[in-house]
């Protein structure tokens, strides 16, 4: 189906429309970070996993964080979309209650105990959400 121009738009229109239409960019996530989290409020949390919600559009880790006085606060950490990890062999048991994890992120704008999980690791520094190694890099595809 060939494009057929009805009439020649004026130059101003072309310039304006180009600017408006540009940046139909690859979308990163379901919504923008800055709508939900505050980059002026970085947090670093260390705690015990109480629940892992493998849900869409974002998975959420629930952790109990104990402060110096021993008081426990429950936090929720927002992650990406789990289906990507399921395809790499991560299972719902990969993150289980009782695991000790460290979260680097930013606090929610609404002031609640929620943060995004920019970096989530075990206490020894290993990343939490790695899939099976060798799962599909270019040149890595198993022969069919």
């Amino acid at each position: 189906m060939r494009g057929k121009k009805a009439s020649v738009p004026n130059r101003f229109a072309i310039v304006v429309s180009a600017a408006l239409l540009a940046a139909v960019a690859q979308v990163t996530a379901h919504h923008s970070f800055s709508a939900e989290f505050d980059e002026n409020k970085p947090v670093k949390l260390q705690g015990t996993v109480t629940k892992m919600e493998w849900i869409n559009p974002h998975a959420w880790i629930h952790i109990d964080v104990k402060d110096e006085s021993g008081k426990v606060t429950n936090w929720m950490v927002e992650c990406g979309a789990p289906n990507v990890l399921f395809r790499r062999g991560v299972s719902k048991n990969s993150v289980a209650p009782g695991m000790e994890i460290v979260v680097d992120g930013y606090r929610a704008k609404n002031g609640s105990n929620k943060a995004n999980g920019k970096d989530v690791t075990f206490t020894d520094g290993r990343k939490l959400f790695l899939g099976t190694p060798g799962s599909g890099a270019p040149g890595d595809t198993p022969e069919k």
């Binding site: 493998w54 789990p82 399921f86 299972s91 719902k92």
Partner: protein, 263 residues
């Protein structure tokens, strides 16, 4: 005279024996492309099971402003053999669900209905029998599920619609569903199950325009024993019948997020 008598008696006996058999001769559904009974088409329930699986009398709706519209109609139970066998603690939870049903029913929030409820929502659904499996496409909330007809697969995670593994027993499609997240309800009356729910469904075409649907529901943390529901499903016979959309998120946003709206 004797011969005619004997013929009459023999003939009569033959009729007596074969007529019931002819009458009871099971309907044989036409074959689908997969060689099995053809269940394809658009189907819809005609009962009020979605209001309440048990017997129910008419009740007022949630808002007096809509008068009789939105009120609950009467309906007969689809539960075989009496009341739903709740464990005592679970029965308390059901009662709490009922009390808060206007706002807590996942259907009010336009959440996916789960199984078995998706099959008796008051919206049509379509069965598509393909070599890749049997697809159920529900008009309600764009829900759908693909029944795996090969070697059974394990659920990867807990979901709203569960993980469905199917096989044929003669002309009956049997579907084994597990891997639920325990968040769906079974009806608008607060009947529910947990993430330990296990449903075994049976779909049998009984004639050109009817399916018989049965589901055995088992959840040891909620019910004292497995129990069963059954109901007919009716074909949408209009020449141009097709599924439309019921994307109800827009109708549920005020309920879910109204308190966060700018005043």
């Amino acid at each position: 005279m004797k011969v005619r008598c004997i013929s009459l008696i023999t003939g009569g006996a033959w009729l007596l024996f074969t007529l019931p058999a002819l009458h009871a001769q099971a309907y044989r559904a036409p074959r689908g492309a997969d060689g099995h009974a053809d269940l394809s088409g658009i189907w819809q329930p005609l009962n009020t099971a979605n209001w309440d699986l048990a017997d129910h009398s008419p009740q007022a709706g949630p808002m007096w402003q809509t008068g009789a519209i939105g009120a609950e109609p009467a309906g007969q139970s689809v539960v075989e053999g009496g009341a739903i066998p709740y464990l005592p603690a679970a029965l308390e939870e059901k009662k709490n669900n009922f009390a808060s049903r206007r706002t807590n029913d996942p259907e009010a929030k336009c959440y996916m209905p789960g199984i078995p409820r998706a099959n008796y929502m008051p919206y049509p659904f379509q069965i598509v029998q393909s070599p890749r499996g049997i697809l159920f496409v529900y008009e309600y909330a764009s829900a759908n599920r693909l029944i795996n007809m090969g070697k059974p697969v394990e659920p990867v995670s807990d979901t709203w619609m569960g993980t469905s593994n199917g096989h044929w027993e003669g002309d009956t499609l049997v579907i084994d569903v597990t891997g639920f997240n325990g968040l769906a309800w079974l009806d608008r009356a607060g009947d529910f199950a947990s993430d330990k729910l296990h449903v075994v469904e049976r779909f049998t075409r009984t004639d050109r325009d009817h399916l018989q649907y049965e589901a055995t529901i088992e959840d040891p943390s909620v019910f004292s024993r497995p129990w069963k529901i059954s109901m007919p499903l009716y074909r949408r016979v209009e020449k141009d019948a097709q599924l439309l959309e019921f994307k109800c998120v827009e109708f549920a946003e005020e309920l879910l997020y109204g308190e966060y709206k700018k005043k």
